[in-house]
């Protein structure tokens, strides 16, 4: 299976050519190389898929590490799950590369940008194609690094650099969990290869403590990467990067790797109902939190960012009720419509001469027709109106949630009410009414070039019909996705009898479906009443008051984190660096420099004094350590001796 090894190879080659040749390759060749690499990779996925038959294929390129007790191969695993993820990544990835060719064409770092994009694609492919947890981790770190590079791509101002750093560090906190999960797996299973781990996992009972620990640790990793409470605040800030980056990394691919990881480890999660319940509630809370913040944002990309946070919450909600394939289904449809929305937003920003505030827009419908229509398609899809793709996947998740817990379902419906509202608010304020920007902006308004509108159209079509890969059972049409994915969940079925059992009657299913459509329609009408005439424009920042202010300011979560975590840590670090190190150590060193003028006696005193204080600290350290280690036994020994 040479195709499998070629899938990650092309983006790597693309990265090397554009990266090493940065500044030497002509500007016309750069996008061809970058996009071509991505497209070739997509073709390889297609070929690999056509040659694929039922059972997973393992390609072990070489032994990464093989010592006693630790055997990890540099191996790829092609199965149903990785095929689906690869299609999304390379497919949407290629479209976004194409879009970037137009969008970034004025940027001086054009070649660098494509190099980073290719590197990202390579890491993401490693993440989903890897045959063991370590490969996944390598990809996991790789995408984090690329995300850092791409968010901070415009490193002109410090805000962007800070956003990049925040994303990286928050992800690292999540990675702590992931790494600990990996070490736990290694200690308890003795291997990291998926197939072996899952095989051995079958011997465990449902609710086993070790499995709970492993799944919880891995989920912490997912929280970081997929922006769940409490590690979600980096994602909206990550919008500082170029818009295609937001579309590719912060909507369609990287942020869904947490979901991929859980679906990949579905046996382990099925064995741990406690973790699943936890995931479901975290997902639900994130979905609601993201949606409420999205209600009042005025930056077009911020609205989409919070919407992404919220939609990721839905995916985790689905996973939490063991509807793994539904969660994955939503990953796919979300990749289509959210990439579409982000690229559409990019096209709007392009037209608006880099202004992102929707309060300055309005009436763009007639000015940029293609963007507007495709954006509308995306908006309908995410709102859950049939037969657009978002409806199928979200409805499937909610149906499973209903079965699991009615309260969760009601809250989920509330979330989808808000989703439809904020998305249509965004749409109406941006495209309806009359133009509110400056004369200069108005003069510049133009539709984007072909290389940008083509991906929009393709994604719009996919957003419209993408849901047909999974029809609800009640329609008696095939659910191709479920059928295809079925072998992935074989082990889950074996270990937990409650997996995959559906109790919902067809009538109830229809009622639920009707309810969610009704909620979405009411919400859209509501949004239309408020914003449809284009006269109601969100007020300026200073006039936002009361509860709305709380939500507008994202519940002050960033501020809270700053107070609770960042503040103390930098204070400690500052203390060490500036008080202990500077005052105590540097001061002396400096004063020695100045002290050349002083008498030599004086210097001598200074030096002896300092070294003396160092030694004092050391001696104190020794004393404390000896007491800590031997205090109790020393005491008892003395007692013994005295008694004698």
């Amino acid at each position: 299976m040479t195709f499998i090894a070629l899938i990650p190879l092309f983006p790597l080659i693309g990265f090397l050519i554009n990266g090493l040749g940065y500044g030497k390759i002509s500007k016309t060749a750069v996008p061809w190389i970058g996009t071509g690499a991505s497209l070739l990779s997509f073709v390889c996925v297609l070929l690999a898929y056509l040659n694929f038959k039922e059972t997973a294929i393992i390609v072990n390129l070489f032994d990464w590490i093989s010592i006693a007790g630790l055997n990890v191969g540099f191996s790829f695993q092609l199965d149903q799950l990785s095929i689906i993820m690869l299609f999304v990544i390379t497919g949407v990835g290629t479209l976004i590369h194409l879009y970037s060719a137009g969008y970034m064409s004025h940027d001086e770092g054009y070649g660098k940008f494509f190099a980073y994009l290719n590197l990202f694609l390579f890491s993401m492919i490693l993440l989903v194609l890897g045959g063991n947890y370590l490969m996944m981790f390598i990809g996991w770190e790789g995408v984090g690094l690329c995300s850092y590079l791409l968010i901070g791509f415009w490193n002109k101002n410090t805000d962007y650099a800070n956003a990049a750093r925040k994303a990286f560090i928050m992800n690292r906190i999540g990675d702590v969990g992931f790494l600990i999960g990996i070490f736990l797996i290694l200690q308890n299973f003795g291997t990291l290869e998926y197939l072996e781990v899952f095989e051995k996992a079958k011997a465990f009972h449902v609710g086993d403590g070790i499995i709970v620990a492993i799944t919880m640790a891995l989920f912490v990793g997912a929280m970081g990467k997929s922006a769940q409470i409490p590690l979600f605040t980096w994602l909206p800030d990550a919008m500082a990067g170029p818009t295609p980056v937001s579309a590719l990394i912060h909507a369609a691919t990287m942020v869904t790797s947490g979901i991929y990881m859980i679906v990949r480890s579905n046996v382990l999660y099925t064995l741990s109902p406690f973790t699943l319940e936890f995931i479901a509630w975290i997902g639900l809370a994130t979905a609601l939190l993201g949606a409420t913040i999205g209600l009042f944002q005025n930056d077009i990309k911020k609205v989409l960012a919070y919407s992404t946070v919220s939609q990721l919450g839905y995916m985790f909600l689905g996973l939490g009720v063991m509807a793994y394939s539904s969660g994955l289904f939503h990953v796919i449809t979300h990749a289509f419509f959210k990439a579409l929305l982000f690229l559409g937003a990019g096209s709007v920003i392009h037209a608006m001469s880099d202004d992102q505030d929707i309060r300055n827009m309005g009436g763009l419908w007639s000015k940029i027709k293609i963007t507007a229509i495709t954006f509308l398609v995306g908006t309908i899809a995410i709102s859950g109106i049939p037969p657009f793709s978002g409806f199928f996947s979200k409805d499937e998740i909610l149906a499973h949630v209903f079965e699991h817990n009615k309260i969760m379902w009601a809250l989920g419906m509330l979330g989808s009410f808000m989703t439809a509202f904020y998305m249509f608010r965004l749409f109406f304020v941006t495209f309806k009414g009359s133009f509110r920007g400056t004369e200069e902006q108005k003069h510049h308004l133009h539709e984007s070039p072909k290389s940008m509108t083509t991906p929009l159209i393709v994604l719009a079509v996919l957003s419209a019909i993408g849901g047909f890969i999974g029809f609800p059972e009640v329609f008696h049409l095939p659910h191709r996705l479920n059928e295809f994915l079925s072998p992935i969940f074989e082990n889950s079925r074996l270990v937990n009898s409650s997996f995959g059992v559906v109790h919902i009657s067809h009538n109830l299913e229809l009622i639920l479906m009707g309810a969610s459509v009704l909620v979405a329609v009411i919400s859209i009408l509501f949004a239309y009443m408020v914003f449809g005439n284009g006269k109601n424009v969100p007020v300026a920042d200073s006039e936002v008051v009361g509860l709305k202010k709380l939500v507008y300011n994202k519940y002050y979560i960033d501020e809270l984190y700053n107070k609770v975590f960042v503040g103390p840590i930098s204070a400690i670090s500052f203390f060490f660096a500036n008080v202990i190190d500077k005052k105590l150590i540097d001061k002396i060193v400096n004063s020695v420099g100045e002290g050349v003028n002083f008498s030599s006696k004086k210097i001598k005193e200074l030096q002896v004094g300092v070294t003396g204080s160092y030694i004092l600290f050391m001696t104190l350290g020794i004393l404390l350590l000896v007491l800590y280690q031997f205090g109790p036994s020393l005491l008892s020994t003395f007692n013994l001796l005295q008694n004698k």
Binding site: S66, I138, E141, T611, F630
Partner: protein, 461 residues
Amino acid sequence: MYPIIVFSVSGLLMLFLGLSVNKKSLLPYNLLFMLVGLASNFLDWNAPGLYFNGMLEISNPIILVQWVLIFAAILVSGISSRQFDDTHAYPAEYYAIMQFALVGALIMVSFQNLLMLFVGLEILSVGLYVLTGSDKRNLRGNEAAIKYFLMGSFATGIFLFGVAMFYGATGSFDISSGNSVANNLLEGKMFFWLGMVFIFIGLLFKISAAPFHFWTADVYQGAPTVFSAFMATIVKTAVIFALFRLAAYSFNLEYENWSKFLVIIIGLSMVIGNVTAVFQTNFKRVLAFSSISQAGFMLLSLIGLGAQSYGNLGFYSLSYALATISAFGVFLVISSNTIVEGRPSENINVFDGLFSRNPDLAIILLISMLSLAGIPLTSGFWSKFFVLNDAAAKGYFWILILGVLMSAVSLYYYFNPIRASFKKTDLGKIEISSLSKYTLYVCAALTILFGIAPNILRSLF
């Protein structure tokens, strides 16, 4: 054992060569001697046993570590090219002392008798005191040398006190005699335990583990950069393996009695090293604090003390040496090109715009920083992975969490030079001597190679 003899002789030869040949050809001689030393180690391959009346032990794993030491010394010599060209430098002496210090380091990884450990430690330390102050016109260097000497002597005193206790408890200096007290009464064991703790502390000082790290930043900053690199790599490797030998052969039955406080020291080193490095502006100080935290990570394999720990430590040492030497090497070239107030600037901002001034150096710096931070596909990732796995095997999960968190903190300061190097600048190109260039290429290439295929190195141990 042969390299010990080779370097003892070649160090003397070096001093005589200093009188007869010109300065520029001393470095090639030095490299030649080191290669001879490296090769002479083959003679001992597959001939394990005790030598010199049970004073030294030679076995294949020990030879591998000795190779790591000699190889690191070759790399350090490589980046020293053109550094000693001015009239006030005496390269013959420096290289001779480096070779003598190397003898000490080689003894420290193969001792069978605590007296040999002491001899090795002192040969290494005294050489370093001199090298630290070798730039006689640099006030800071002089102060650092005195400081290092005073504190080093203090640590040696503690170490010797520990050895005396050990002898008192066991009646022997042989490291295997540590196990003979296993069944002794509590009163007799008290001396042994105290000896053990003091021996540990004396050595922990040398690898700058917290809270015995106070000298590190001053000394790294004050010493000429080449010797800071020597200190950061060769000394650390030699001492950590000395500690490992003691832990594995003398004190393994007392694991419960030293692991408790060692874990505290590891935690302290990681926290103090990383947290203090964040706001440093002097790059040598950054690397000094980074070396404190790396010492914490290395000590994890002592806590692990499993069948794989020795190899893990070997991998860690080489990978750390490669990354550190390339960081120091790149810094050395740039800082000697950026003179502020008559001295090479050591501020982090010397890296500004490096990518446009010399892209190769910028890439090497990038690889080195990523490796030190433990990012995958560099050897630094694997070294951290191995030692953390070691700690996990013993169930020390809190130190695992702390370690991973602290390596997240470390990204902050390891990324500073990287970001600086991609800034815009209109400063001119930087020239670099071909020897240091190739040395740096080798470091970077091996860092990546061992990152992609760690098995090449790891399976040797």
